[in-house]
Assembly symmetry: D2
């Protein structure tokens, strides 16, 4: 491990970029070397905050800097793939805002490019690094839930509506990335239905479904037209059920020791259920964004794999793309081929 | 209006029938004349409670009684249609447990038979008579919600699992009947997906979707494998949103004065939202089952229409049947023809 | 243990008596031999329900019955002590509605009488037998809470207001009996303040305080003029805190693994706190009233002690009486002498 | 009204002062002219944030500045009174952190001094300016609650424990200032009990009681040893009840249309209750601290009275002081004389 700090540049300072810049700037062992945006006026808003960084409107300045280790791409979604490609081709590691690309093909090409070049490619699927999700993942992996039957996510709110992105692409990457992470399988089929109430062609409400080869089902309820503010994932197992509720402050994860009693134990006509203790483990209050940034810096330094690497980020995009096709086709199921193709 | 009480007979005393018998027995202006079950042992359990009623194992005893006005059918689901047919053909009014029949064809035939004979046919869609649903219906009909966009029902629980009925047929009639009642349209298309985790071929979890000609969508989440006990219906309108939560005691209905601000008023790129007062109207504590029984007795006496009459009950069955087809076909949408046929 | 069932008679069928009669009647090993009330009309309301019991308006009929083992006193509060005295003097065991008497002197005299005669005297302090309270008691006794610092009860509601009993006597016995049971000490001093908003001289809202010799404090908030419906007891220990919330159905007891960190471990100027897991143990759904009745029948048969015996019931009355004095004297503390006298 | 901005200096930058400095600095029509602390190291931490302000360790520098209009005193509590006196004697307006002083005598002397000199004296009783409290005050003043019977505050938490301030002085000023503001009367008598579990002589838990001449009672539950985080005030009126819950984000104020039915309308033996709608008015999300600072700047400019002026702040201190006496004397009631003396 080198003593030199990891040098990072951030591209795109208009929306989420400033949060990333602030976190990388404060991280020990990391230096925010460059801040880049094509709009001078946007750059001017941030100059005072980072006196030690160099500001530029030209990404090539970053790519030409031999001391720069990694570039953070926080630009508008359609530019993620082309910019990430330039970063990887310049031999830099890349951290890309979600979603990684607009098509599975582009996303998989980026993953392959990173792999071929031995570069780190990490997507900002924040929730995958949330300590509460880590706890749920631990419960699943240790078999505490028994056999996982299904899981469902509720991401609902009354929120400002974006003119150019539907609820699926805007809200879905969170739940999809968590579901893929928890189940640990490549989905075999997805479907989605949705409606556009406020703007033609931009779905405000989307119900999605992911089928995994093992039979596990993931269900999504995504909406920005809702009286409830919900950010919740429920996982149903044969022995325990667990809820991750991100609107709670002290009760992020609740584990219910309840479930059906196998018929072999009861011999009755009906399947009985049992209901035991409820347990709410203490979840560390660490901020997910900070954890993500730390993980990226460590990956750059130690070349360790991360759970939101290129292939993982590409699968999220494939699911989004296949759900979009299903949305446009009245909810018809769309298969995801094993090799990465969408039928 | 006659001074004579309405004479009612109850058929089927094994499961829900006793609740109906008790309610009809206590109702003013109503006499529980007959109690019928094909099992003597079942009858014996109830003899002490109804000393003024005649007990029999033979439905024909009831049908031959010229003084009997109406028969309540609370037998197992597969027998609903044939028994209701015998009741109507005998010239009696009929109150039938939900669902009215196993097929839309049977259900519609019953509705036609009642209509032709001038007989009352009422289905026990309890929730339609719930004072909280009446309040929501009033808000919808008075335009207080603005344009209704969509609605969704959550009926989830960890419950004893029945070996012969899936979550759709067991839990669905409640939410479907309420949705049809609130929207007031015949659905044009439905779909459903679901999974059988505990018993092959018996879905424990079902997600359903109802499309109405006006564009309103109804979504169902039905499950008896869930850590939450939820009985909830949410209606999203352009001006207000309302939630009926049947697990609450004092807060059954919550009206949110919130919604999107029409873009014509804001001129911005994004659609803004507004959030105003929350109102929780007082809902009378009347028991829905008692209200249903009262409504039936009144219908028998005054020949007044009810919101869960033959055609309404038949549409619920058509939706259930079409969703079953969709379930068996990976969620493929199934159209409901205007004339009552399912495509 | 005799094979003969325990014969019980219930006196006072106007308010709570019918619930006791029903429970004793259904209990295995127990026979409801007598039902007694001085009002014939009241008796008539219950004759049909207990065909095997003898009805009378004269308590002496019961006291003269050599086969009768025990009498349940469920008459108006001022008659508890004189009737219980007659029962005990007749050599019968006695179960008395709470409070046992109107003065500590009368209550202690009854306890002494029962003791001298070797008779069972049990007071209906229902909550002491609640499975959730048993759980809290177990946590306290096993030292799971560390040192108990203090506890407080909230019993608030908007309820029908009784003209002849204030909130202290009406609601207080519940929380006082539980506190005495949990702490397991005779209080050394009590005080109370309260106000009469609806009727002169009848306090609607009472705040009470119990000091125990060990330094533990119990605080009461009793009110029937409140928007919240609360029935809650919170126990604060040095290592854990526990809440018993009787308005919850599935979460009656919540254990918080949180508390102050002893300064010896931190060495700082401030005392730090720690916050760990939350645990909600499964509490059996058994009905407390049924448990109380079972315990009484067992005590009659086996002469086993109960946690709401004469001395325990008498201490509750002493606390009520001393709080009443404090109420009338602007909250001045009133001492409870060790020997049972109130200073 | 002058065009010149109001010039403000902040004294005491160690704890709450930085929040005040930031707010005054950002306020339109206000200039943060001076930043003062006796500790150079503390000043150094804030120099970069306020390049336009002058920093000093000497309060006299501020008092000698003829252009300075007002001084904000945010120093440790024991220095509030002496520093505020110097500010007022120098002819400046004063904004003082709560509590205004350690004794009612000192606090009243400051109020008199401000009055005599025509100076603004305002205490930072933040909650009095909270939009939710303003809503409750409006409901009370418009008679919407009917006759106010009593009110109670819950301020509980598991928090870091201060070595030099008990729960009464640390948490009490919030609820006391709000109660005095809502009731609008000078209290006639107070009492308090409390216990010191963690440090001898420093009460962790305090129960307080305020009696107003009209008969209204205010009750306080203050604790930093509690599993619940509560910041709540409940006001009980004869016609409505209202709860201000500062832990809620969207439901700060809940109005319950419930209460007792006057006996004149029911003629029964018991007093009946009624329970109507629940209403949750939209409360603006404005930050109270910002509102307080704005109100002070306006008071300096326009000489308009504020609800937390010298006399109001002095009454809070009198209540604290009298409660402290009661605490030390086992809860004995302590009278507040009309003229400002404590009996």
């Amino acid at each position: 491990m080198s003593e030199r700090p990891v040098n990072v540049g951030v591209v795109g300072m208009n929306y989420w970029g400033p949060n990333l810049a602030r976190n990388f700037d404060r991280l020990e062992g990391c230096r925010l070397a460059w801040v880049c945006d094509r709009d001078e006026a946007v750059l001017d808003r941030h100059r005072a905050a980072y006196p030690g960084s160099t500001f530029t409107t030209d990404l090539d300045d970053l790519l030409r800097d031999d001391d720069l280790d990694a570039v953070v791409v926080a630009t508008p979604v359609p530019t993620h793939a082309p910019l990430a490609r330039r970063v990887l081709e310049a031999g830099k590691d890349a951290f890309v805002e979600k979603p990684l690309a607009l098509t599975g093909e582009d996303a998989n090409a980026l993953a392959a490019l990173a792999d071929a070049g031995g570069r780190v490619l990490m997507v900002d699927h924040l929730l995958v690094y949330h300590p509460a999700v880590a706890k749920v993942k631990e419960l699943v992996d240790e078999g505490r839930l028994g056999q996982v039957f299904y899981l469902y996510g509720n991401r609902q709110n009354l929120g400002i509506v974006r003119p150019d992105e539907n609820a699926l692409w805007s809200l879905g990457p969170h739940d999809i990335s968590v579901m893929l992470h928890l189940v640990g399988e490549r989905p075999s089929e997805v479907s989605a239905t949705g409606e556009s109430y406020l703007q033609p062609g931009v779905e405000d409400v989307v119900f999605g479904r992911i089928r995994f080869p093992s039979g596990v089902i993931g269900h999504l309820h995504l909406s920005w037209l809702d009286p409830h503010k919900m950010r919740k994932m429920t996982v149903i197992g044969s022995e325990r059920m667990v809820v991750f509720d991100d609107m709670e402050t002290e009760r992020k994860v609740t584990v219910y020791d309840k479930g059906p009693i196998p018929r072999t134990e009861t011999y009755g006509e009906y399947i009985q259920v049992r209901s035991g203790d409820i347990h709410i483990p203490k979840i560390p209050a660490a901020e997910p964004l900070r954890i993500v940034c730390e993980r990226f810096v460590r990956a750059v330094r130690d070349r360790q794999p991360t759970p939101s690497d290129g292939p993982a980020g590409a699968t999220v995009v494939e699911v989004l793309e296949a759900m979009s096709r299903s949305l446009a086709d009245s909810g018809r199921p769309v298969a995801l081929e094993a090799g990465g193709a969408i039928a």
